[in-house]
Symmetry: C2
């Protein structure tokens, strides 16, 4: 399988720079998280990568081949998104047939089993389904289509906790049976943390982190204690967030702590999980979509 390479992608809507020189690579058979605040440009990026909209500059390559308007390359890429390209009266089983048409193959047996687990009938029209069940029907297509790169934009929209759990199980199951690349863009970061190998964080139109989740979390800390001692221990580090709890100061950092600084007894170090690391990294400045 080929790598997917995103090179210097820029996109502007009107005066607003949505993506500003975005470059990264996706390796075959890996599960990525694509994280960002509302309005950070995640959906725009996914749409550019799958040829639904065009970049102002830059390109997307599958191996050495530009993806734009290249049907052979595009048939390796599948995007499940909030936007419905299908007509209202389309039945769920029609979406299976369409996926087979475009991608050459479709796992009908597994898709039928999944639909059943979600409590959906093949004969239901997409319009008739609730938001949550429509998401479940789309996920069923996405996990059974024959593509090496599957992009899932908000895959848990409207799903209740039981259906989210079922989705995570089905994702791991299909990934183990046939490893391929999944890119999951979601706001429910705590829930997907354990599924992700690498994380790509978009903020203010650029990529601010692109690394293994384990590497990122190895350096993500909350440091708390008396304010003066915390200030001394964190001197020179970039403080991401800071809050005062009575006499205790708690700050977050993403930094290697392996220098020779000694941690005073009254100062505590605690690792952050992925969601808290993300919010700490992206709390500077709110955004409108």
């Amino acid at each position: 399988m080929n790598k997917l390479t995103i090179q210097h992608v820029k996109k502007r809507f009107g005066r607003k720079q949505i993506l500003n020189d975005v470059s990264f690579e996706l390796a075959p058979a890996k599960i990525y998280g694509l994280l960002g605040r509302n309005g950070a440009g995640k959906s725009t990026l996914l749409n550019i990568m799958t040829n639904r909209i065009f970049a102002n500059q830059g390109q997307v390559l599958l191996g050495q081949t530009p993806v734009a308007n290249n049907q052979a390359a595009l048939s390796e890429l599948y995007l499940m998104s909030e936007v419905d390209l299908l007509m209202k009266h389309t039945k769920v089983k029609d979406t299976f047939a369409m996926a087979e048409d475009v991608y050459g193959q479709f796992d009908f047996a597994n898709a039928t089993r999944m639909l059943n687990a979600f409590g959906i009938s093949e004969k239901d029209t997409l319009a008739k389904l609730s938001t949550g069940l429509r998401t479940a029907a789309k996920l069923t297509v996405a996990l059974n289509v024959n593509a090496n790169y599957i992009f899932l934009d908000e895959p848990t929209l409207g799903l209740d906790a039981n259906h989210r759990e079922l989705f995570y199980q089905e994702l791991m199951r299909t990934y183990e049976e046939r490893p391929r690349t999944f890119v999951i863009s979601t706001h429910l970061i705590s829930e997907v943390q354990q599924l992700l190998e690498d994380v790509i964080i978009l903020d203010h139109a650029t990529i601010i982190k692109n690394e293994a989740v384990s590497d990122l979390l190895a350096n993500a800390y909350e440091i708390s204690g008396p304010a003066d001692l915390v200030a001394e221990y964190t001197a020179g580090m970039q403080i991401l967030t800071s809050r005062q709890l009575g006499k205790i100061q708690a700050v977050t950092v993403v930094a290697a702590l392996n220098d020779h600084r000694v941690l005073p007894d009254q100062v505590k170090l605690a690792h952050l999980d992925l969601q808290k690391t993300f919010t700490a990294l992206t709390n500077g400045g709110e955004k409108h979509e």
Copy 2:
């Protein structure tokens, strides 16, 4: 402050029984979770409690007074829901003025501070805001309105992780300053677990649990080990879910374990969190909305 009492409420849409003899009480100054699968009847129940739709049978009382069509009682109840009753061109600041009109008082200063934290301008129209920011604007109204019972139906719809965290902080802040009752209906159960004192679980049109979160979780377990030993130890208990992992059987129960049964060495007990307890309790049968 008066209790809110829901008595024998029944609601049917066409042939479908949405609520079947639902009764419970809400105490003043307490935070409740109202949990249920998609389609379980949560929104219908909230709409009945706030007089937006009518029950086929049963009633809702504030103290001794029926709430239906009673303006004085209704001015104690505020529902924030996904449905927008407001016109598209309404500005955020107009929603504040409307809340003051109807509820007699509104905390403009705190609302302005919250808006600012969410990155919203008072002059923005609701139509212009993204789903997430529209939710944030509605939350700002809900947390600053002068009512003793505040119902939040899917209060995190479209919010990114940073804004969800901000909402949880703002809820706790306003609750500490002026304790009143909040009922939170959400699918993001893990995230709200620590906010909730009591939980009401709706399933198949009826209430299956109504108790303190701590009491429910004290009895919620996963029991795992060799299948025969697990079966022996759980004999007579209602098994909620069961899964096989190689030679290990893992089952979930909500049951008091304080009898004289001895736990064999190879069998492990682990407490479930609220989300896992909920999914275990409600996994029997999928539902369409």
